[in-house]
């Protein structure tokens, strides 16, 4: 418990004392245009990335859950690959794939389509972030898919339900706890991301964590850094609560539909 309290406590204290009690950090955040904008950015990037991650991760999790244990183990190797490669090397690899002379654009160009800018903008940030996050959403979803009673899907199938309907009305609703857990893991992590944005983002892609990093390590203004961190913490806490609501709301929606 102490090791949980310690960092939090020291962050809170740093945000309020410098070395005497001050609210400068917070007042700066509230007044500053920059913070509001970056906050908005952060939310936008995080939510988009988490959402896209779920969209990308769910089919993979679904596919994995339908495999025999042996094949699943084999496929999991593929899924875990992104973990083993450092983000800088990965950013290089992304450049080879998605860059203006990259594989994708070369293919597009050769079939007469215009090249598209996939890196060094919001798209790049999302791609990089999603790539890192997919394994995180995959496991919770897969776990909840594997835990489902197969008789339920079978019963629905006998009643004549198509695969799509079984998926939408049974498999998906029953896997929502896993989706929520995965989404939470993904979302919460993006709040702390900064290397990805710095490497693959464009001019406007600044996140709170970039700022905190800057203040902590280069400007040494720990008071301000902590104030930003506390704000971020409060924010993500709020989002989690809101998400909890939505989840309740979602099952209510399922009943009504």
């Amino acid at each position: 418990m102490a090791i949980f309290l310690a960092p939090l406590w020291s962050v809170l204290r740093q945000s309020l004392f410098d070395p005497n009690f001050t609210l400068n950090g917070y007042s700066e955040i509230i007044e500053s245009h920059l913070f509001i904008k970056i906050l908005y950015n952060t939310l936008q990037i995080s939510l988009t990335a988490a959402f896209v991650t779920l969209i990308v991760g769910y089919p993979i999790a679904y596919h994995l859950s339908r495999q025999s244990p042996r094949r699943r183990a084999l496929l999991l190797i593929l899924v875990m690959l992104p973990f083993w490669t450092s983000i800088l090397v990965k950013s290089y690899a992304f450049m080879v794939i998605l860059g203006q002379d990259g594989i994708i654009n070369t293919v597009l160009y050769s079939v007469g389509l215009p090249k598209i800018q996939l890196l060094y903008n919001r798209t790049g940030v999302i791609i990089g972030t999603v790539h890192f996050l997919v394994p995180f959403v995959l496991f919770p979803i897969m776990t909840s898919l594997l835990g489902q009673n197969p008789d339920l899907a079978r019963a629905a199938q006998i009643m004549g339900a198509s695969r799509l309907r079984i998926f939408l009305r049974i498999t998906l609703p029953l896997s929502l706890p896993g989706v929520a857990a995965g989404g939470l893991l993904a979302l919460v992590q993006t709040f702390g991301f900064f290397i990805t944005t710095a490497l693959l983002g464009g001019r406007g892609d600044l996140m709170m964590a970039n700022l905190i990093d800057l203040y902590t390590r280069e400007i040494l203004n720990w008071n301000l850094a902590s104030a930003v961190a506390v704000t971020l913490l409060a924010l993500s806490g709020g989002i989690i609560f809101a998400l909890g609501r939505v989840r309740g709301g979602m099952s209510a929606f399922g009943q009504a539909a």
Binding site: I3, F4, A6, P7, L8, S10, V11, Q14, V56, G57, P59, I60, P69, R70, R72, A73, L75, I77, V79, M80, L81, P82, F83, W84, T85, S86, L88, V89, K90, Y92, A93, V96, I97, H131, V134, F136, F139, P140, M142, T143, S144, G147, Q148, P177, A180, A181, V188, G192, A209, I212, D213, T216, R217, A225, A229, L232, L233, G237, I240, F241
Partner: protein
């Protein structure tokens, strides 16, 4: 599709690792094992890897030992402030890791925890445990309450039920949590760097050091080796997994 997205960057990285010289370049201009030689024989890469492994494994153990019972309590028990406590347990991953690292560092310095690996393990556990908690909590949704009650009626105490009934049923979630906590530790730079001591760097810290100025292709070699390693482990698991 999804799989392609996940593996494509790795497919690029592997050839990068066989390039000679100290710059990345694709497609590779030469073939050599120079990067691997560097990794195995120069500037403590190997020691850093070993340290990272031990830290990763210790973090995994500790996160599981603390995180799984915590998740169990959070799902099964009913007490006021449950949500707040959940949030509190999750807080280390809600705060950018640099802030956590600072807090941990100052705290350990103040209570005088010494040693090479212990502070890193504690710091990593802090950020890895929330993952274990979340995955285990999601897994608990699939554990039939009735089974626990049935065991209780047969006379099993809470602890025994937890070990003999809940844990085995939670196994997939725990495996995922274990994997996460290991990987998070194995991948983590900032905390390992802050609370680590001079001369004892974990692999990511060492890699981070070597990419400030240039992206050394050694890193591509390391990525390739780790990929191969995980491949080996998973093949082993796959070979032993029962086909049901």
């Amino acid at each position: 599709m999804g799989y392609v997205f996940l593996i494509l960057p790795t497919l690029i990285v592997v050839p990068l690792s066989f390039n000679a010289g100290t710059e990345l370049s694709f497609p590779p201009t030469s073939f050599s094992l120079a990067q691997y030689r560097t990794y195995f024989f120069e500037s403590n890469w190997w020691e850093a890897t070993v340290l990272s492994f031990w830290v990763g494994i210790a973090t995994m153990m500790l996160s599981l030992v603390l995180g799984v019972p915590a998740a169990y309590a959070l799902v099964r028990a009913d007490f006021p402030g449950k949500k707040i406590l959940t949030l509190f347990l999750l807080s280390p991953i809600l705060v950018p890791v640099i802030v956590v690292a600072l807090g941990v560092y100052l705290y350990f310095a103040s209570i005088g925890i010494k040693g090479v690996a212990l502070p890193i393990v504690l710091g990593h556990t802090l950020i890895a445990m929330p993952f274990v908690v979340i995955t285990a909590m999601a897994g608990m949704q699939n554990v039939d309450r009735n089974l626990e009650v049935a065991s209780q009626i047969m006379g099993a105490g809470r602890l025994l039920i937890f070990y003999k009934v809940t844990l085995p049923l939670l196994r997939p979630a725990i495996v995922a949590g274990a994997l996460f906590s290991f990987l998070i530790s194995f991948d983590e730079v900032v905390i390992a760097y802050f609370v680590g001591r001079a001369g004892f760097s974990t692999l990511p810290v060492k890699m981070f050091g070597s990419i400030q100025w240039e992206i050394s292709p050694v890193i591509a070699a390391i990525s390739t080796l780790l990929t191969l390693l995980s491949l080996g482990v998973c093949l082993l698991v796959a070979a032993t997994a029962k086909d049901e």
